[in-house]
Symmetry: D2
């Protein structure tokens, strides 16, 4: 299955949600699963490959349903009704290839000494292989190739401890960026990595609580945002309410900056920063840094729209929808014929000739990975009559792999191989401008502290074996 859409964007991400309902608040047997369903709906942009929900009933029995496809395709009313229980966790995934993909779908449900547990996870462990080898030596078996199964096996190793202690010990073992939700009999748990790389927030429902990757999921299900889960925190929700274990405290923060640039939904607020506002500010900062002369500002929809609006407002150059997106482009098996090969991007984007013809265009995108789509867009705009096309990118050059949960791999990063002029020449734009790292920080209003920007500067906040730090190509 080829995704026509977004083939030039980083694509490895996941979204998680957890729901806890007090007994008195349960209106129907599967209300927790149903609420998780709506939460996943709002997180669909974080993963379109598979979706799953697990619920734990009053006997501690966990049932799970997971399948390849969108949330709306995977779940039917009958399926939701088959997931009774006050506590549920859900997961959307955008990831791996290969024949055994369903095996890797989440949540993972397993039983161990202390009963049944359902686990859903967003992120990546940098010491996954080391941990797996260590567990295998102790006699563990692995049925998937997920971090989640490693985390589950670690928990089981500590099954003589209370769940909370086992979780703390597990957090000591694992390295990387992660946001974890776990459902067990009578308990919902949320865990966030010590640097807060991956996002996770806590909300209040009538008669219950919600954990979710992004605040937009809370809005969708009518939950009140309480706070972000703190880096290194374990949040335990049970009949006594919310208990916080600050397991691995650290002053350091390393929130993934790509969440603000591309991944998160604009209506989400992560760690105190609204995504829409951040994107507009990055666009405005870009306008201040570039000071280009042009007739119109045109976004690459949808990911470049917020930044383009910021750019237009700051520069005073009119914002115009010069590229129209086919809202229904999604997964398709059908490949274009040779004759139509160069029309690939056309299935997704079409220039509006009446808007672009004869104009000098500032084309705004959020980021560039391979550069191939940008090249096609610039070419389309010229064919439609654009006089000049200046590509401005609302983030710095992406020139380092991510090891904490985002699928940007060095070999495919154009900015790792070429300098800005080389990229411009490849893309065919009249000029190319990236946002500076300092400009990005000032737009985020934090003075550069507290973010993971390893994909831009190669300084990895969690050491990755065998990877040296370094600048861009």
């Amino acid at each position: 299955m080829g995704h026509v859409l977004d083939d030039d964007k980083p694509c490895h991400e996941c979204g998680v949600v957890g729901v806890y309902l007090a007994e008195a608040a349960v209106g129907e047997p599967a209300e927790a699963a149903r609420t998780a369903f709506y939460g996943l709906f709002a997180l669909q942009h974080r993963g379109q490959e598979s979706a799953g929900i697990a619920a734990v009933d009053e006997n501690g029995e966990a049932l799970v349903h997971k399948a390849m496809g969108l949330v709306s395709e995977v779940f039917s009313p009958a399926v939701i009704e088959g997931l009774p229980g006050r506590i549920a966790v859900g997961h959307v995934r955008y990831s791996t290839t290969g024949g055994s993909r369903l095996l890797n779908a989440q949540p993972l449900v397993f039983s161990y000494l202390r009963g049944m547990v359902a686990l859903a996870h967003n992120g990546n462990l940098v010491n996954y292989l080391e941990l797996r080898d260590r567990l295998a030596t102790l006699g563990s078996v692995f049925q998937t190739s997920t971090d989640t199964e490693v985390i589950g096996n670690l928990l089981a190793r500590y099954s003589q401890d209370r769940l909370e202690d086992a979780l703390i010990k597990t957090m000591i073992d694992v390295k990387g960026g992660y946001a974890l939700v776990l459902a067990a009999r009578d308990t919902l748990v949320g865990v966030r990595d010590p640097l807060g790389i991956r996002p996770l927030c806590l909300g209040k429902l009538e008669g219950g609580y919600v954990l979710a990757s992004e605040s937009c999921a809370l809005d969708t299900i009518g939950a009140e945002f309480l706070r972000d889960v703190a880096p290194g925190e374990i949040v335990v929700i049970d009949s006594r309410g919310v208990t916080s274990l600050c397991a691995l405290q650290s002053r350091q923060r390393a929130h993934c900056v790509f969440e603000y640039i591309y991944f998160a939904r604009p209506d989400s607020t992560l760690d105190g920063i609204n995504v829409n506002r951040a994107r507009r500010a990055m666009g405005a900062q870009l306008a201040r840094e570039t000071r280009l002369q042009a007739d119109i500002v045109v976004p690459v929809p949808d990911s470049g729209t917020s930044a383009a609006l910021g750019y237009a407002a700051e520069s005073g150059i009119p914002f115009e929808e010069g590229l129209m997106k086919n809202r229904y482009v999604g997964r398709t098996f059908i490949q274009p014929t040779q004759k139509m090969r160069d029309l690939g991007v056309r299935l997704k984007l079409n220039p509006v000739a009446e808007v672009v013809a004869g104009r000098r265009i500032i084309l705004v995108d959020d980021s560039i990975v391979r550069g191939t789509t940008s090249r096609q867009i610039v070419s389309m705009l010229r064919t439609a009559g654009a006089r000049e096309v200046h590509l401005v990118v609302a983030s710095p050059p992406t020139c380092h792999s991510c090891y904490y949960g985002i699928d940007t791999h060095l070999p495919e990063l154009i900015a790792a191989r070429l300098d800005v002029e080389g990229i411009r020449a490849f893309i065919g734009a009249d000029s190319l401008h990236y946002l500076s790292v300092e400009g990005m920080f000032s737009a985020l209003d934090r003075g550069g502290e507290g973010f993971c920007v390893a994909c831009f500067d190669g300084r990895y906040p969690v050491p990755v074996e065998g990877v040296r730090e370094g600048g861009c190509g």
Copy 2:
């Protein structure tokens, strides 16, 4: 299956495409069907219920594949390869309910005295029942409840005539708005109703021709736009090229104005008017007509975005994305629980509190049908902290049923029951403003001539039995 999305928009429409390839231009057996597939992809916004393609091979055999679902769901490479032939027609449909919906999917393939024919149709015949009764009296049987089958049976009644003559006689019989594509052995035909109510255009492919409901389909498959099919014209494409029969000439034009307001894709140009430009102009005109004081202009995405940009540019009030749309909301079977009932619209739209809190908002939408979604949006914005919400609508009040192919029914039109103040009160906005009919015409740059605006003024260009003309409630 409930569409969460767009339940407050008119929803009955269809899109058609026809492809003719010269023998020398055929690169692979199913190239015509494959090209039609890409065309349908670009027309998906005109119908999401079912999709179909029929191809006619060199022996005059027509094969068809049609099914419920999106174009990308209905077709696989194997299915496309099973549709060989130089000539193909395709159809997307958004329509009827009930158990036998697949029966009504198009194209309709049938054989009659002169061989096999595939027919795809967008529009509505106002004398459907009369024609069906007349045909039944002559001994016809009907396996569907589509206009298309009536058209096919009329053609068969005239089977002693040449196809062109049979088509002219059929056009004399049928009344209403329609755009028709027909594939027969060696011939592709396009037909447009005498007033040009429904759109149809002609494009040039390398080694062939294309007919499509909108020009965006031509762009997507790399075809050059030649011209709109003229009202009342029959376009016959065969080995001699394009032949035009101006069957039912008329000076009058009645292009459906709702295509510009809501249906067509912004990058399409229909009958000389670019849709995006028309929408921006309607937004700008609305700004001139209303002169509201406010802090920000916020669109109801996506249908209100172009008009909101026009409004903002004209008024000088900043454009802000105050409502975020879930790009993945689509069909879902899962209904919200009682507790979440009022959150219905939240699955699709979420206000950005950072943008709207404390602000006076001009909320721009393209049109209002029932008013229920508008009411929920206004309520959400207020809950998110908006100080004032002024709803401006980039079209006049919709207060009459459409009988020419758009599914607006009197009983559900709020503007047919309430005056503007009544609608405002229902919706809960601080003020409500519709675009004037004159303002709409001036935005369309045609001085009011040549459009069907029956849904606004009740003056039906093709008489509908039993319907009197009249103004709004």
Copy 3:
């Protein structure tokens, strides 16, 4: 999809069922459809390609559900519940190939001047093409390539007449073998061809009536067998009860003898002859005609079992199950590799070495079409150690095509090309013996009158244009 099973048997057949319930007898809205479902279940052996049921509700609306697959695959409780009405007809089909097979599934539902009608048909019209051409000249269109659609169009031509008269006129037009059930508002109709080639019987339900291809369907749904529909009879069932129109009376009878030999279920009684008894009698007659010396009688299961039991009882030679059938062999896409090619039949049949080794075997089958399966079975038996294999066939050599609804085509009939010795040599049996035509008649206990045996003697009771009568090759 390849049928591993029965690839050496005639395979073109269909089964029909019709249900009429009096208003007072209806326990649930879809009871007629549900009853038809059980009836089709019992007729599944007559067609495994597609299945369908149509029901007519009190408003005369007919709804249909039909799909490729077995009855149990095509229908779910929800589907049945979606087919309300007191009157229903059902159909199972085993037939055509190609991409448009679902189009040809039955029942066919159509509306014409007098309302909606559902039609299901078993058989074949010898003048199908002539009738279709005649109708096309009058302006009819055809969406399928079925006899049923031609019959529907003929009825519509006579729509000025009462339904009964239209049916009589239609029967005058059509030639061939057919059994028809038709559901209209308030009426269920059964029609049988003038010679009674295809079977149809009438049963009494509590509060209603049933029509079915075979009496076993009556047993399954708990209906009492009343009688066979007479050749040329039209049976009309409505609120007045059962009315019989002897439309095309004829003294001649030509019941298809292959129903007794192979098609019908052994527990059915058709036109007064129980199928199981007929098969045993044919086996016994075969024993009298052959008088072979052997150790055991072994059937080719399941079609040869009844005849083999008759043979064994008559000859006194012990009956043994020397070939075991895989009860789960059905449709499979997987083809054997080259290495396993010669094992094709093994997927379906496996010799029991302990039974056959060292024995002289009388192998009993019901008929031979191509001879390829027989050849493989004989070879398998020899490999398993059989000392002699004498193949005895409980019917005469099949050497003529059937034009009345059974898919035996001259080019594939081994008996049309080779004499008995030639066939024996091809199959590799030690001897080969067919039942004589006279023996067959005596087993059927009717002295040779009243059967269609055209596939054996080439004397076609309904003339087929272009076909001369003749003997075997």
Copy 4:
């Protein structure tokens, strides 16, 4: 999904197959999987709920495909081609209920310290819970509720040992009846429990070897039967050929007698006894034990047919097919209405009135579990006119639960609650006769040694905690 068929038979069983091909013998990449597919086809009678095949490629990577449904439904050519490798194991399953059934489908593929392994298992471990608890205490997690996962975890515990040694240690740990096939890089392994309760045999393929639950699978794929795997034996197949480890030698044998009575296919030979011959012998023995006066012997098809033939041959009373079975009855969702409730069995079996009317019948079945189906059959026969119905059962009364892999549970066993006269009265037969245990042994020609007959006499060869031995109710 309700199985209409065989709801009165024990239904918990599985079938396994393993294929090893030498490198030189591989004709296509997925030949091992394809061969396993044909083997499973022949074992379909051992389980119809789910099917799966796993193959190990030259890199030691194991891929698996498993799904609910029949072998022919679960596998397509594309699926088979996606399972490359010289070594494959397959599994068919008939078992558990509940939402997570797919999770429990086999083979189970996992990786542990020594690489990837695929495991398929038929049988039941009596100490499953004890082993699982012991492993959980050591930190194991369980994702399914299968014996197979426990076996896999035990192997992993011994991962410091060679695979062979780990298998021997695992066999020391597990108690019960089992037949296991295991595929690892370069090696296929077969294991049989120390008493030989569950069957497993070894065959020779051109260029390879096969392991299978029954010999009929060897016949189907053209393999030569070499021998049964010995009780307690581990068979290791690799590039050095077949190595036998007689891990847990025992003189005792306890072959499951129900394999001969009901489960195995008649053409299989298990541990030296042909199933068909055993059934006929049991029927003949029953005739000697009962000496009834009657007109005809009628089997309950298909499971009673072999015994009935044996009975008829021994008694001289004619064998007649008085009950016809619907060959297409399978899984159906549709339940009969109240009115048709008593017709339940009719969907599957129909009496042939011409055969049974006025006759004294000896009705032969293989075994009785609940007695409800027998009761309905006797009633149907009487309604069809039978004068007397004497039910003879070709096995002793089943009055004890099986703990070794067959799903007979005490609460549902009629013979555990009632004596023979009580059962006769419930069933409504004129007389009821079971085969004696001694008669069964004499028919099996072994003098009572070497069989597990715990379901008849309650003497469990492998002790089951909490179960006392005892006689019938």
